[in-house]
Symmetry: C2
């Protein structure tokens, strides 16, 4: 079973040993969901999934979960997350193993999305690539030399904190979005649009992807917001590429998957071919990327533990 724990949704997928999904389950979470509550929901989901598939409990060989926060994948501990209040140093791997009596593993959700794209998505067989999620938040899952990069305190890929020309310059603060996230995250783009279109309350209520769609229809105010977003994304991708020289950037998240944004960004990147022009592609797994990555992690965990 693969699990995707989000700030508003909990999703589960049951797959066979080849990774073919044979059942899905979902429910709601909110920012006050405690680890115990989420664990109980997962237990309910696993129960329902096995029953629907007419499988006994013993058919479950492993479980892995993606978490929207800083996660120590080695020790299986959720260090902190801004989406779920009170989750601090939660030994989630151990809780899952105690609940299901099978090997368990956890990791950051964006990192699992990268793993999913590497296994079955747009980055299949590519050993140096970046999965870049742009939605409410911004984060990256990084593969280099064919391995996930986590960093020494498990915050590698927190590219929403980058400082870029034209973006905000205030120093970063605990619990607040980073500089790039303030400008290019969903709320940042919405706020730019509110500022731009401050006359009409109906028009200002648009969300980021509405604004981009409006830009595509020729609205020049919306075009201005899209252009600024594309310029920031081009700088971000180019700077990450200067560090890693990744062969591919897979874009995910509601904003990352915007065709208008990727086209406008590609246009800018045409001028940034030295030392290497970054290649962009929209995720083909979409919101399944994290789940597929969680399934991959569950399968690897089952294999590794079976050997040891």
């Amino acid at each position: 079973v693969g699990v995707d724990i989000g700030g508003s949704n909990l999703r589960l997928a049951l797959a066979d040993r080849h990774g073919t999904i044979i059942g899905r389950w979902r429910t709601s979470t909110n920012e006050t969901s405690s680890p115990e509550q989420v664990l109980q929901q997962i237990a309910q989901g696993v129960h329902d999934l096995l029953r629907k598939a007419s499988l006994p409990r013993t058919a479950l060989s492993a479980i892995a979960a993606g978490v929207p926060g800083v996660t120590d994948a080695e020790r299986g501990v959720v260090i902190v997350t801004s989406y779920l209040k009170g989750w601090s140093h939660v030994s989630l791997q151990q809780l899952l193993e105690s609940a299901f009596h099978v090997p368990a593993a956890i990791d950051n959700d964006v990192r699992l999305a990268a793993l999913g794209e590497h296994w079955m998505g747009a980055a299949r067989g590519i050993d140096d690539f970046v999965f870049l999620a742009i939605g409410t938040g911004i984060g990256a899952g990084i593969f280099a030399n064919g391995q996930l990069i986590r960093g020494h305190t498990f915050t590698a890929g927190e590219v929403g904190y980058m400082y870029l020309p034209g973006g905000p310059l205030e120093p970063p603060r605990h619990g607040e979005p980073g500089a790039l996230e303030q400008a290019l995250g969903g709320e940042g783009i919405r706020q730019q649009w509110v500022k731009t279109s401050n006359s009409d309350p109906q028009v200002s209520a648009l969300c980021a992807t509405d604004v981009f769609a409006r830009a595509a229809c020729g609205d020049h105010l919306a075009r201005g917001v899209l252009d600024l977003s594309a310029q920031l994304l081009a700088y971000a991708v180019y700077n990450i590429s200067a560090v890693l020289n990744s062969s591919l950037f897979v874009l995910g998240g509601s904003i990352g998957a915007s065709l208008q944004l990727i086209e406008a960004t590609e246009h800018r990147l045409d001028s940034y071919a030295v030392p290497a022009r970054p290649n962009l592609v929209i995720s083909n797994l979409g919101t399944d990327a994290q789940l597929v990555g969680a399934l991959r992690l569950a399968l690897t965990t089952a294999q590794v533990r079976a050997k040891s």
Copy 2:
């Protein structure tokens, strides 16, 4: 033997199997030095080193060289370098093996400096760190998960191309310094100083480190140049850290080793503690870092080839 091929100097070091340097040799190069000329110089250097150490030619077990350019370390090919004219797709590894009849290997010089710092320098035993060289040019050697990161076209670590707030915004051009390098490289800092102090020709002739020393003595014009450099370096280090979450940045190169610059940068980074404050330290191998890295690569190459 470890070799450091530069645009103005060629340096060799002879070491025993523990990496203890038992002889050094150097000569001059210039931008018109051809691969054949450099190879002949290396041959002379190896000959002199062995003779001085009273060792027979058969005592040489391997040779490795660092190159100031884009280098395919797997195939042993120098793809391009801006410091040596006409070096394009040079099979240097093969040339070295033909000349010395021992296993040879090559890599980018900044990457070898990182390898040197990891083996015997400021990053000993640290598996996630960045060696950042700031001199005429700017480049990084990156360790993640205990491995060097090279990227898909061997340009990982070309951070001199990063776009940062307050830096130049023109798109990058072939053969020209990148945006960060234009501002924070030796020539960029010198030009800022010329602009700042345009009255007095004697004063404007200072080089970057002179300007920083002058700032330390209370000159407020020089202080302005130092402050701008420190702000750019702080943004660069912070952005790289947002990508990699490295536990350490080892600074090298004539400008990177400036105490005034590191102090002013550290001061700025105190406000950048989220998600992780980057730690800076000046290289303790200094200009030996590349040579030590080349020796490490030579020893590894000797061991690997002996096994295979």
